[in-house]
Symmetry: C2
DNA sequence: GGTCTTCGTTACGCTACCGTATCGGTTCCC
DNA sequence: GGGAACCGATACGGTAGCGTAACGAAGACC
């Protein structure tokens, strides 16, 4: 079921969510970090550094660094893949799920307030 | 006319737009810079450094720096206010308008592709 | 006219992210 | 078993944003 919007609604929605995100979060994530986080939580696992790098079109160190940062925030975890010990499997956390849930609520609330 | 979404739609939309934005933009804006840009283009002028800082809940140097960066990108311009020469009025540019128009298109297209 | 306030900007030291190149560890494959 | 390929992490120099503090310019006020 597609979601239809007018240009005004689309930009208004984006505006409202961005504004509130900036106002709330003292330490905001980078756009890239945000994209990585959503990829991890909205696309079925498993997720690897290499795979995320390819999906986002960035280099591997970008992913490693982002996972370091978000790991310290408790938003993701890394576990060595025992089947192929070269790989690292990125796993979700409860805090990360809550974080995204709040973001979803913010988007919904912003959409409801339009006009 | 409110825009109603399910949690899945909200996060899916955010995910798709973030992903595409990261993939396209080589030099991505900060979340704060993005919020500033949208505030300038979606809220009626005039816009000042002080006003934007208050709206976003950040310090004035943050605004100054963001305007420096976005000015170099051609997304905004600054003009001294002749009525009160202490103020600086932030003005829109054609390039900035096009930039936001493309973003709006991206949001709409992403919404249409959901599910 | 002299102070006091209000602007936006700049200075400074710090932190975080960037891209490139390389590394150690692991698997593959002959 | 040994070299090649692969994976993620690290090193390094550079750049950009951050917060705090201060600055110069311009208006306000008595």
């Amino acid at each position: 079921m597609p979601l239809d919007m007018t240009p005004s609604q689309a930009l208004g929605l984006w505006h409202a969510v961005m504004l509130e995100t900036v106002r709330q979060d003292r330490r905001d994530l980078t756009m890239r970090q945000f994209a990585i986080l959503m990829e991890i939580y909205l696309v079925p696992p498993p997720h690897t550094v290499r795979g995320l790098a390819a999906t986002l079109g960035v280099t591997k160190p970008v992913i490693t660094r982002a996972l370091d940062t978000m790991g310290e925030m408790g938003l993701v975890t890394r576990v060595r893949d025992e089947r192929d010990r070269r790989n690292v499997v990125i796993r979700r956390t409860v805090d990360g799920a809550l974080y995204l849930e709040r973001l979803g609520d913010l988007v919904i609330a912003s959409g409801r307030k339009l006009d």
